[in-house]
Symmetry: C2
Subunit: 818 residues, 2 copies
Amino acid sequence: MIIINVHPHRLFHNGYEPEEDDVVMTNPLTSAELDLMHAWWRAANYLSVGQIYLKDNPLLLEPLKREHVKPRLMGHWGTTPGLNFIYVHLNRLIRRERQPMIYITGPGHGGPGLVANTWLEGTYSEIYPDVDHSLEGMKKLFKQFSFPGGIPSHVAPETPGSMHEGGELGYALSHAFGAAFDNPGQVVVAVVGDGEAETGPLATSWHSNKFLNPIDDGAVLPILHLNGYKINNPTVLARLDDAELLDLFRGYGYTPHVVEVADPDDTAPTHQRMAEVLDTCMASLAAIREQAAAERARGEALSRPRWPMIILKSPKGWTGPKNIDGKKVEGYWRSHQVPFSDMTPEHVAALEKWLKSYHPEELFTRDGALMPALSELAPEGALRMGANPCVHGLVSRDLKMPDFRQYAIDVDVPGTRVAEATRVMGKLLRDVMRDNAAARNFRLFGPDETASNRLNDVYDVSGKAWMAGVHAEDEDNDLLQQNGRVMEILSEHTCQGWLEGYLLTGRHGLFSCYEAFIHVIDSMFNQHAKWLKVTRDMHWRKPLPSLNYLLTSHVWRQDHNGFSHQDPGFLDHVVNKKSEVIRVYLPPDANTLLCVTDHCLRSRHYVNVIVAGKQPALQYLTVDQAIRHCTKGLGIWEWASTDAGVEPDVVIASAGDVPTMEALAATRLLNEHFPDLKIRFVNVVDLMTLQPSSEHPHGLDDHEFDALFTTDKPIIFAFHGYPWLIHRLTYRRRGHDNLHVRGYVEEGTTTTPFDMVVLNQVDRFNLAIDVIDRVPRLANRSAHVRQLFLDKLIEHKNYIHAAGDDMPEIKNWTWSKP
Amino acid sequence: MIIINVHPHRLFHNGYEPEEDDVVMTNPLTSAELDLMHAWWRAANYLSVGQIYLKDNPLLLEPLKREHVKPRLMGHWGTTPGLNFIYVHLNRLIRRERQPMIYITGPGHGGPGLVANTWLEGTYSEIYPDVDHSLEGMKKLFKQFSFPGGIPSHVAPETPGSMHEGGELGYALSHAFGAAFDNPGQVVVAVVGDGEAETGPLATSWHSNKFLNPIDDGAVLPILHLNGYKINNPTVLARLDDAELLDLFRGYGYTPHVVEVADPDDTAPTHQRMAEVLDTCMASLAAIREQAAAERARGEALSRPRWPMIILKSPKGWTGPKNIDGKKVEGYWRSHQVPFSDMTPEHVAALEKWLKSYHPEELFTRDGALMPALSELAPEGALRMGANPCVHGLVSRDLKMPDFRQYAIDVDVPGTRVAEATRVMGKLLRDVMRDNAAARNFRLFGPDETASNRLNDVYDVSGKAWMAGVHAEDEDNDLLQQNGRVMEILSEHTCQGWLEGYLLTGRHGLFSCYEAFIHVIDSMFNQHAKWLKVTRDMHWRKPLPSLNYLLTSHVWRQDHNGFSHQDPGFLDHVVNKKSEVIRVYLPPDANTLLCVTDHCLRSRHYVNVIVAGKQPALQYLTVDQAIRHCTKGLGIWEWASTDAGVEPDVVIASAGDVPTMEALAATRLLNEHFPDLKIRFVNVVDLMTLQPSSEHPHGLDDHEFDALFTTDKPIIFAFHGYPWLIHRLTYRRRGHDNLHVRGYVEEGTTTTPFDMVVLNQVDRFNLAIDVIDRVPRLANRSAHVRQLFLDKLIEHKNYIHAAGDDMPEIKNWTWSKP
């Protein structure tokens, strides 16, 4: 039997060439199958409405009354029936092909739908045994939703099978590709709402298909769910005509297939069409893999597949009430959240009618169990999407870590040798990549900056993922590899989304980024940090590999790109999140960076932020010293201090590579001019040690802090970032009133490296003047030295304005023992 | 004469239907015109290379030596020749049609190009008279670029004609549309680099064409500049085949025209092709306007035009050296920045050869002036793109502001009446929109939340801009208006970009956003705040209307959406920027919100952040009290205080609507149980008053601060955001050690409103306990009251877990006079 389902005229005009699978229906579902699937869908819809509205009388065994309805109605109905529709159709494929699938719910508002389906398939009750398949269990299922002490209204960490909160929009597709990388057994289905599709991060993430290898990675099947409306507007994509819409997705590199609900009440044709399109897509995925395998067998480069994707046009709030109070609800934005919420008798009756339209008596026993015939629609065991072990962290392996000490820089005399810290780190990352190549569970992410950030030694082991074609003139086209493990796209959003998807499925990675532009993903970081906080104590999820950032090309060396590239504020943003999951490191040199990197790559369930420069810089610690220093997180540098065995006159402290050099230079200047001045030099690697131990697990006890920083001596602190952050971390410390912090105060332009620190007064001369101004016993004998330093600042300005570069004495400054 | 220019096979395959203007060249330039334009282009390229490399010998009047070259070479060559090419071609159109144009340089790295062109057209020297058309002027032009004390390397605020820094990528197109809205006389040309095109914000901003009215707005002509490479990768879009590329831009709703450089050395055909395509585009723009005018004359809805756009494929570093040291440079990523920078004798010779390839002797007199024939290519006066008054703030008019007092809520007894603050604000915004309708210089921006945020009274005056078609079933389709002034798209990036473009061209606006998701545009805010800081003291730019944010649907009332929607950290982010341009307001009720809104809409050159709830909330101040309170920025609320005429025992302070209610409730609880306790109640509207006056212009002097907060009494501060922010602002205050701040500490889920404050201990009971624990004279008589409050918290938990809603005594709490 062959029937025409969608409206041909909507496809054919504007020159679109129809393909057979677009318009000719073969009705793959038998009538029995269709009935069963439709029943599951009705059950899921019933349970969804029940969650939104009911706290009692879950099966309507008695007439519905106001007191069965929750007092505050919260939740989102609009997207839910479509999500439920997709779920039951995917289950059919999973059962038939024993194909594991991951379901990513872009419209995260559809929480009740995913809870309903995982309850139907049994995974929900396995994790939450009191929410079982009984009348009492169903009542709990309903009541707990969006209820105090219950579960969130969105697809949340609490939802089995979820790896994507979806509360904030834009990341469904990049999460999906991240989950698919190195996961050849999985098909990741990403449902993208048409609201979400308007966001920037989503709009560019369609291009992720230029980075997916059809053999070595899993597949991503995007389903654009056009239900036409946002909160109270039509969506942009829903108002394109079909020709434009299909052009867009062909332009994005996909083969789009349209499933359109012609009549919301006559669902059988839509079931058939959806089944057929999904069959076509699965066949396409198989064909793509086959073709790729054949190409590889012939030793050819793989073609970039035109992956299938589905455009599902269904009414918002499908199967819900057509009208309420004479206003359109189904197929309109009014069904976005709770379609009606003032529970007048008329509305209670409308709700009862709506619920009964699903015929719960055909779906559930009077004891609240699912009818046996329906239960059989669920896939088995771990094939159930709510039990996919990939998304609960259950298949995560630790990285094999080489001994990082082998990459260490020799440091004989501190502050005399120059090296590029990130280049040294690159050697460690190279070998991490090498040692875990077989496990295929480590990738490096960054917006076109891996080489610029001097991590390019990794290219000895793996090139950059690139399926978009290599030109003959690409001289280093060997770095563009179809299964490369370095992920570069000029979209911080996509890098972050891919990495999150990769981590959320248990693998490891590191994101290297220009410091200023990591703010692009501030909001994504928020969501991931919240995910980590909430999942931390879930027994059925295992700790995830940490989200590791390397922020380089940092504020102090954006002298060439200028003011727009200068912003060290990501740290301020990060420390607002829960201390249990947040770590911040500012290694001052290459060996400390090695040590910190090793620690971060071994850790789990944190966000680790590492700030380290890529430019040639002085080296201070041997690797053994670095290990001791990093283990404590901060400490006195005896070799730079002159307070051995006595109380210091002043503490000079630093965090960050460039501020540390300036603080050391200031120390040395002061040594020269005031040989009797007792200076204690403290360097901080682990920023969170500064916070009280009550506030952060790494925080020092007060007595430890006092022992290091004193309670009564001036502390001059040269900090990498905005100076207020140090005050925010230390305001409860006894010595806080003596603390004077220099850092970036939003001054900069295109200039020299040293001028950058001068503009922000975190240079050696200003720091030395800060000391002079605060140490009482220098008061009567320092005026000429103070003036000398001020003169030096003027000399600096004159010099750079004439010569265009820093004075040799600054540029070539190295430490010398006092 | 008709010739074929681009490769037809690249256009014809895959079903593409060629249009005549795509492939048939009519060679619109006469040979004389072409020669002159080519000469201008050579001049611009010469000056660009000169800026990057030279500090002396600008016209090569003597042989080039190492000492003529700058010591540190910084800048970006790759994109520059393409930008210069576009500039000269636009000048031709401007002259011919006297059509004002705005040039938006997405590839902001091309700073030298825009500086070169504005110098050639004369605008540069008018603003910077010492950089004149003389040998000395040219030497200054070269030396200052990317040089200490000189100008930044990017297209920066310092560049005439610039309204877009472009250092961070992604916003060229949304800025362009923002500039075009309500600017019917302007054609905004937005050059989008193929690197930038990979970013999310850019990828979605193509859809801005669904919001542009062909009659009432200006036109945007996007030029996608495909030069193939980023820092060291190919770009994604450059590796699509033409069919896919054209599909993509048709899918985005444009009519794409391709200009491809077939032979980099044979530039005449490319000049002809570019001229022809631009002629076609200008003709299309005219046709679009004509058709729209005809439709409007017939009283019909306007069709959505398929606006023209150009894809310019040119080699990266076009006209630069082909190879250096045997490695490919022109047409490759190696030309991204400085193509070669170690100035060996060979490289000095290569540079000289490169510079001389432009034949400067044909372009400039030996005195450094432009040859007269070339000068005539520049448009006249304000038609020069470097002198467009729109982009220097010169055509900005103040808003007509109605008297905001007429919208005030009557408040007889503080804290007893309930109103929705943003709904009241909406009435003011409605009339601002009405009173400035003729001037067409006010719009409201937000991601689909104007009604949700209760600002919908504005719809009485103007609907939502929408050119994407209205369906018959859109019941309120009258709100979707082809020239609506409310701008809604579910992309915070696009909202922000549009608003910035609108402000940067002198108009006014307000962005209302869910508080948590404003972090999406953290990085865009950074760039705009930097722009404001740098332009603040430029005499030739006028102060811009302020960037106004309304953050609503805030953290305390995301009890329904849950944890993912809870983040008050934008304030922390904002206060890191220069205090001269940053303002933060937390009005506690509707009348203070009115007063603050009035102030913000009248202000210029600030970023104003207003945080205010949309939910029904208690009202405290009459409008006259509100005016006095807002004028001071903070103050004692006598009616809530019990310390009249005496020293208080404790200061209870608040900032933000929900914390203020809780702090008042705590005050009232304490009054009841300890009638003799002297409480001073302080409310803060203008957050920056807390900072020392040395740090922020709104900051209180220390003696004022001490007078309000005391220096020795406990201060319990209930704050809207993360509590550390208050410490960061006040750590230098004398009373800081007595300050105890409660705020959001990253605890939340889907629950009740009151439970949100309980989870974060900023509720009335916890605040009251904080007071009890800190006021010494309560120590011996408060144990039972303390226990009572703890019991209340337990009662609350039990109640909400049973009932799903807050206890009536909490929900319906109002202030009562002690």
